[in-house]
Amino acid sequence: MSGRTSTLTLNLDSGAAECGDVVSGQLIWQGSDAPTKAEVRLVATASATGSGGADTQRSVVVGPAVCQLKSGEPARFELPVPAKGPITFTGAAMTVSWRIEGKAQAGDAATQIPFTVLPAGGLAVWAQQAAPPPQRDQGPR
């Protein structure tokens, strides 16, 4: 009997977006018995700096965007980035981070990628100032 490995992979068109813009990308299922649908969400998490407990975190979710999955075929999605933010930042007392989450509606397959939210008009400005590029760390689960 051969082992079956299946993965859900998230690819973004860009690792950063501005407030009021959209984040887009594709979800790919590799393996047999693809789940019919998957959901993609944009999640912002605010947490007290230096603490890791769930009681010091609060999250806001945008979405979900529902994707129809077929094995090996990318499914496109788009989600709006809230015009009022918040932007990604690390402060003295708190941190706000964003991530994209993909999860099959059936089964345990899931994946997530960190994402950077900039102020409206910030992409060009930050590029001009040679700001560090947004972190991209794909990790299918």
Binding site: A44, A48, D55, T56, P86, F89, A92, A120, G121, V125
Partner: protein, 229 residues
């Protein structure tokens, strides 16, 4: 649950007839001194009346701790009322005139006009005005509840007028490009406010606080190639 940017909570009366000779449209005002004085005075006087009522009804049977406790609280509130009334009577409500009702943006360069009038008995001679922007990170959840961190950016003050017991000053608001805009997420808040301090030798010193909103957007002057800090 998700409230985005903190909304302005101050009174915003529109100035239509007053001509300052400047294209200023939007006014913020701060009558916190008067409101606090009225509130504490009302509660303090109310507690005194309760004391009298208890004394009349219960007489010598009333417990001493009740009189002492109520009396101390009433006295403290009346002291707060006196201090705030003194400030309020010394100075009229401060006003901040802004070019528009639009929120501030990152990299913005905005000139606001501050005005305050001294009431009878207050003297504007030797008066000094200073101002600064405060960015306050507020954490109100879990074991980190009630944590605040305040960052301060000094504001350039240009004294415009100091006549007839009235002080007017232009405040040059330069919003840095790399700061965090206003927001609220369920117990986490980034709050911005402008503080204007008047120090006068013959009137009580006073801080006027005006909440402002810094939107998560870069000012157009920066996007089009202008300089931003």
């Amino acid at each position: 649950m998700f409230e985005g940017i903190a909304s302005k909570t101050m009174d915003k009366p529109q100035q239509e007839s007053e001509d300052l000779g400047l294209p200023l449209q939007f006014v913020l005002t701060d009558d916190g001194d008067r409101r606090l004085a009225m509130l504490t005075g009302t509660i303090g006087v109310g507690l005194l009346l309760v004391l009298v009522l208890v004394g009349v009804v219960a007489g010598a049977d009333a417990p001493a701790w009740l009189f002492v406790g109520l009396g101390l609280v009433a006295a403290a509130l009346l002291v707060v009322m006196f201090v705030n009334i003194r400030v309020w009577l010394g100075w009229g409500n401060p006003q901040l005139f802004l070019p528009s009702s639009a929120d501030l943006r990152l990299g913005d360069h905005v000139v606001a006009r501050f005005r305050r009038t001294a009431r009878r008995g207050a003297d504007t001679g030797g008066l000094e005005v200073s101002a600064w922007l405060e960015a306050i990170e507020i954490v109100g959840v879990g074991e980190a509840a009630s944590t605040e961190h305040v960052s301060r950016t000094d504001v350039e003050v240009k004294l415009v007028s100091l006549v007839h017991r009235s002080v007017e000053a232009d405040l040059v608001l330069d919003i840095p490009l790399g700061v965090t805009p206003s927001f609220i997420i369920e117990g986490f808040e980034m709050r911005w406010q402008l503080v204007v301090r008047i120090e006068a030798p013959n009137a009580p010193d006073d801080d006027s606080t005006f909440p402002v909103v810094v939107a998560p957007a870069v000012a157009e002057r920066v996007q089009s190639g202008g300089s931003g800090r």
